[in-house]
Symmetry: C2
Subunit: 216 residues, 2 copies
């Protein structure tokens, strides 16, 4: 890990309201850099301050599954019961707040609040993972891609949504190949459901049409 650790005082000066306040340390990661490794045991918990992060799991033969994408303010790294099943990498250059879980215990009046925050993030993570699971198990390629776009669009205010990840990342999140993702995107576009502006930004033209494909 070649990431740069900022001093705790600097961190506090820059963002005194990060989820972990005094016990967190800021770190910088360059795009593509690993934040933690698969099978690494860790007592750490992370919060995105700036940039975005993906968690992924790699098989020896190169197959990859992406767990999730994380954006500013979101916590990640909760799943380490004993060790991480997924690794985490910076999608873009980013700033991450890192805190030691065991430090929460010696945190006095903050303790209660911090435990609540971590608990909420963990159950939220579980819910998201279950949603993702369902999508992988029972949705067609077209429904998967439509769901993905819909989720991305919901994160944004304003009608233009920009994707922070590559087609390969989308494919590995959805359990598809890049070619299939690309084809489905073209199909959704020629069907008048969405419109792309360059390959990383799009606009939903027919929300109802998109919603129908998502099949909740």
């Amino acid at each position: 890990m070649t990431a740069q650790v900022l001093s705790e005082t600097t961190a506090s000066r820059m963002n005194p309201t990060g989820a972990f306040g005094a016990i967190g340390v800021r770190m910088q990661f360059a795009a593509g850099e690993e934040i933690y490794a698969q099978e690494e045991e860790a007592d750490l918990i992370y919060q995105v301050i700036e940039g975005s992060v993906r968690t992924s799991r790699l098989l020896s033969d190169g197959r990859r599954q992406i767990g999730d994408f994380y954006y500013p303010e979101e916590l990640f790294g909760m799943e380490a019961g004993d060790e991480h099943r997924f690794s985490a990498e910076a999608l873009s250059d980013c700033t991450i707040l890192v805190a030691k879980r065991s430090a929460v215990r010696h945190c006095g009046d903050e303790r209660e609040r911090l435990e609540k925050v971590i608990w909420a993030a963990t159950t939220h993570e579980l819910a998201r993972t279950q949603e993702h699971l369902f999508m992988l198990g029972r949705k067609s390629a077209c429904e998967k891609v439509a769901s993905f776009l819909m989720l991305a669009a919901e994160r944004v205010r304003g009608d233009l949504t920009t994707l922070v990840m590559s087609r390969q990342d989308m494919a590995d999140y959805l359990g598809l190949t890049i070619e299939t993702v690309s084809r489905m995107l073209s199909q959704l576009q020629s069907g008048g459901i969405v419109e792309f502006v360059g390959c990383r930004s799009f606009r939903v033209i027919q929300p109802s049409g998109l919603a129908r494909l998502v099949t909740a």
Copy 2:
């Protein structure tokens, strides 16, 4: 829910060491009966005492995804951030210990222990879900079925493993059809990897062959 609620004193007499001790209530469910519904909000947490349970999610068009299977001593129902994304049904006749989460808070000296138990179960659940997610996204039909058998066999001591679920349940857990599951089982059997004794019990003949297919 037509399940029968046993009195708390009866419950305590029958199993004084259930995870939730005093605050738990025993309930009986018949095979196939629903324990809680999809989208039901609940502050409850459950422990299998006897029998087995599956969680599942149904789409309006009939597609179903099974979340997981639960066996005696295991906790389930943790994912209700706000509401359940999956329903839970009894696979066989079973006895379930049900406790109110909010009751844990007023539990005196037991509180610490109970919170720890629930926390452990939740992170364990998250880890299992991630494992399952990976399987659905990136494994072939054969690898999925092999993984399923391996997991089932690991739960058991002695060489004969009995499956508590139908082929349909397996298929809906693995994101496949019953026909494909059946074909893969036949294939594993004719390849000398496993041997079935009736359609619900099997024995692993070649552990290394099975492990190779699981592709960790």
